[in-house]
Homo-oligomer: 228 residues x 2
DNA sequence: CGCTGCATTGAGTCGTATCAAAAATTGTGG
DNA sequence: CCACAATTTTTGATACGACTCAATGCAGCG
């Protein structure tokens, strides 16, 4: 381990899952000097659609939703980010989104200009960002299919299955309000709620605490519902 | 100009708009050796969802639609590509899509492995791909908003405006069938047709030749419709 | 001329949005 | 710990937009 590796990097929870995983300790030491840790409270608007697309940060812990807004004010979440994900678009000149923390979130923020320089010097870093960007693109395309073609029930079922991939166990914490889920799935609060109710009635899930804790009873049924 | 620059590169229509624009002549000479031109007929399936994600190519002329398919067979176009665009995802291991030529199309195809090697050697090429990928991501997110929240009329209006950006003039050729437009906008053929009819009735556009040639009479009206 | 494929038009249905109200949950101050 | 306010979720009634199914119109072509 490099002597000058900042402590916050060495102990970092996402040392091996974030973009930083592409760097060895000595490279990380240099990048580490550029970044600073920032903690934002749930609900904080981290950056906004009108802004200059300057944000570059790793999410150390927490979660962030990316939003687009129609001229008349309706919102659509176009992505959800969690631990280890990168926020921002170095080298892009447009396409800024609104980013809002949906939990208390710890960010490791870099000034865009110095982050761009760091990438130019370190091909592995740039490669890692390219691969991440492609994954995001594939997710965004998958979501086009969902938003354009799938029924409300299929969207909710797919959403729950997506949560199980990480949170896991038969029981999962839903980290979003009904409203946030609606934004993400392109549905209204009421429709999301009704789908939860119907899934409960069918014995496929059980829920309590205002529907924030969900137990999956019949995963196979969810799978098949998610396809319609 | 480098002596060994292949003629097909020097004369290439997209020398300055494709990924190749990031390369100088001597670099292009090397990359050029790896590629080969292929002409495919309209309707050709260039690559398919099940395949191995090996395709890497520049579109020299023509147009390609990228499709995803639901388990029960419905299609959703997740992107349209035109002259100068790049098809494929070097360094990505999943996320393959179906790509179908919607006109006779000329491709400059590279083997994925050698294209990856070329990118590793040439930072400018990799940077150019990163920037393109980010643009695609931004488009995909914009489309999420459209598909999730906008009315049929707004989608069709927005689609026509998008065509004007490139094809231009008051009059534009619609390069897609009603069915293809429906796939792209997440609508049925009938709904697309009805929207065209209503736009004609309102005097905002005029169309003939089975609706394949469209004249925009009131661009401002289209703009405002595209926002609902 | 009669195919064949695509676009248009029409009638009816279904799913989700909308509007409105009740119920459950969370948070706050006494 | 309880009472009360604020927020979120659930439930209900209704409306509307897009889909579905079906028929007709129109062009290109053998």
């Amino acid at each position: 381990m490099a002597d000058d590796l900042p402590k916050r990097c060495h102990d970092c929870l996402v040392r091996d899952t974030s973009l930083c995983a592409s760097l060895c300790d000595s490279e990380l030491a240099e990048l580490g000097k550029l970044g600073r840790k920032v903690v934002v409270r749930e609900g904080t608007v981290v950056t906004s659609e009108g802004d200059d697309n300057l944000l570059c940060a790793n999410i150390v812990s927490g979660a962030i939703k990316l939003l687009k807004t129609t001229p008349d004010g309706r919102e659509q979440a176009v992505g959800l980010l969690a631990d280890g994900d990168f926020v921002g678009q170095p080298f892009a000149d447009s396409g800024a989104l609104t980013a809002i923390a949906i939990r208390n979130t710890e960010l490791c923020i870099y000034p865009r200009s110095s982050f761009e320089r760091a990438m130019a010097d370190r091909p592995k870093l740039e490669r890692a960002l390219l691969e991440r960007t492609m994954r995001s693109l594939n997710e965004a395309r998958e979501r086009q299919l969902t938003l354009a073609r799938k029924s409300a029930k299929a969207r909710v079922a797919g959403f729950l299955l997506g949560l199980m991939r990480d949170g896991n166990m038969g029981s999962i914490e839903v980290p979003l309000s009904r409203g946030d889920i609606g934004d993400y799935l392109g549905l209204t609060i009421e429709t999301v709620s009704r789908q939860f109710t119907e899934l409960k009635a069918a014995g496929i899930i059980a829920a309590d605490r205002g529907g924030r804790t969900v137990a999956i009873h019949d995963r196979a049924a969810l799978q098949s519902l998610a396809e319609d």
